[in-house]
Symmetry: C2
Amino acid sequence: MIHRILNKDDSARYGLLKLGHCEAETPVFMPCGTRGVVKSLDVDDLKKLGYDIILGNTYHLFLKPGIEVINEFGGLHEFISWDRNLLTDSGGYQIFSLMKFRKIVEEGINFSSHIDGSKHFMSPEIAIEAQRDLGSDIVMCFDECPPHTYTKKESELSLKRTLRWGKRCKSVQLKEHQRMFGIVQGGMFGDLREFSATDTVETGFDGYAIGGLSVGEGKEVMYEMLEYSLKNLPVDKPRYLMGVGDPIDILEGVGMGVDMFDCVMPTRIARHGLLYTYNGKLNIKNLKFERDKNPIDPNCKCPVCQKYSRAFLRHLFKVGEHTVSRLLTLHNLYFMNDFMRNIRKAIKMNCFNEFKSSFLSSFCSNSVNKT
Amino acid sequence: MIHRILNKDDSARYGLLKLGHCEAETPVFMPCGTRGVVKSLDVDDLKKLGYDIILGNTYHLFLKPGIEVINEFGGLHEFISWDRNLLTDSGGYQIFSLMKFRKIVEEGINFSSHIDGSKHFMSPEIAIEAQRDLGSDIVMCFDECPPHTYTKKESELSLKRTLRWGKRCKSVQLKEHQRMFGIVQGGMFGDLREFSATDTVETGFDGYAIGGLSVGEGKEVMYEMLEYSLKNLPVDKPRYLMGVGDPIDILEGVGMGVDMFDCVMPTRIARHGLLYTYNGKLNIKNLKFERDKNPIDPNCKCPVCQKYSRAFLRHLFKVGEHTVSRLLTLHNLYFMNDFMRNIRKAIKMNCFNEFKSSFLSSFCSNSVNKT
């Protein structure tokens, strides 16, 4: 059993995920270390922020520096000098979202690199072998991630291929410490989602991810599809909502029983000057911060709020100093970790719904940005 | 007395510089915090590297965020959260090197901002008042920094204006903790350099800088002009060679009795993938490092060499991750501080010339980059 549920508050779960490199409390948010690094940061930053698990992207690492190079180092942990947990995606999502040229056949996908147009082939077996060589603690199945505009027929064909591919993924032998997660698909159709979940569970994995959401379908539909996807998943296995990291969506997901989240958003918006606070988002570029001596958030305990004023950070942003990307990313990732800690605390104390309401009323009032 | 000479080895001096915020051992290298930040780093990085003094550029800060904004914070230390020493230049060098439109009159210089073309006026008084408001520990005189191609007549006219401007600078009242340095000019003419030094010393400053060198004149001429510039400077005042930071030039300068250096080079070349080691410069972009598990320099104790391989750093550089700028900058600034520490140690032990020879033979053999 890799996931121990320690407390439940309605459907929200507080648990402990036991992985190859360390334990991680859930619900957990996992920052994206796309190409071997969380953008602007280094692994010491992530350790200081308290993260126990980060993501790597198989597709990007497959192209550069190449799996073979990383394998020579003994795996991704060694290559990037990270001694806590790693989750790698399968590359499927990038192939579907980044590629202009791609051809899906039963065997796998022919695609051209987004970097130099070079031709490649990715199959379930190749994706899992790559992740085996990367040595990630959680290996994701190779799935087809369809657009939200697919018809029911298209969605069904797609999810069934994902199911067949899932079985092929499972046939690849992993390293001792590695765990494999299956992925629930089914487009924007509740019955297909239920069907996908049931069949994926039948194949049997160490955990289950919900894929193909937060791809432009709108929040209402997303929450509905999430509910259908979760319905038939076993309670004793971890559940991972892929690509979702908006605090509001995380609260919804946790409320439905999701344990794990990842998203590039907190780090990406930081690089654009947008910062999370419990009172809403703050745009550091705003002229009103020109002489503001306050930290980003006076109540925040992050290293950046302990040290720097809004005016200084705004100045760095306006003159284009790269230093500011790291500082703003540190703040947002501190916020995300602190937010997840508060969620876990609320579940432990059986007051998750109260926490959720109180967070939403403060976060959505957006008082920081009121002029 | 702000500078105590604790040992001399021939002309090389080991000393202690007592400034407004802390003491700094000399010879010292000062990184450039051009626009309030050493590019890619934050002040915690600099403290961990052990720097006691960094530079700020009055010209850049004058334009953005504006001296008035910084003054509202109580000064540059407070604005950038740096509690050690700051040296600010006068802005003269940038006005001469960055400006397409500038008009020099006796009163000062009319110039257009390199950012938006807006018109500004800078005079000795304005430059010193700006630095007074910035609150830097060392304030530099406003000088004219002529190109190395000036004729003798042009150089003489220019240096005499610098001398007159120096006297006007001195008339501005500074804050209690601030010290002002005069600047020796004189172009590429030994007798003018001597004359400039003598007259600058007559005006009387807390320290003396040598300006107008390393501007394209070539090393031989530079060393010769440096010698002429130093000849008439008092032994008991600190001497600062402006804009020079090449390790070989630093050794030459120290050998002639220079105490302080600054340069953007160690940080700039880092951002281009060039790294200092005691065995020469290393180009991290080199293909031969693709699978190299060694750190940049196996003998280096910097945080980057303690943790990351050449292959990983090369990968980050090749895919364009900003994280690598910070890591490579950390290495080069660690090297510079370590190099200066070794220079000081050699002077203390009266073996500076032996250290210099041994360093040069190893550094110039460039064994790291031999294929």
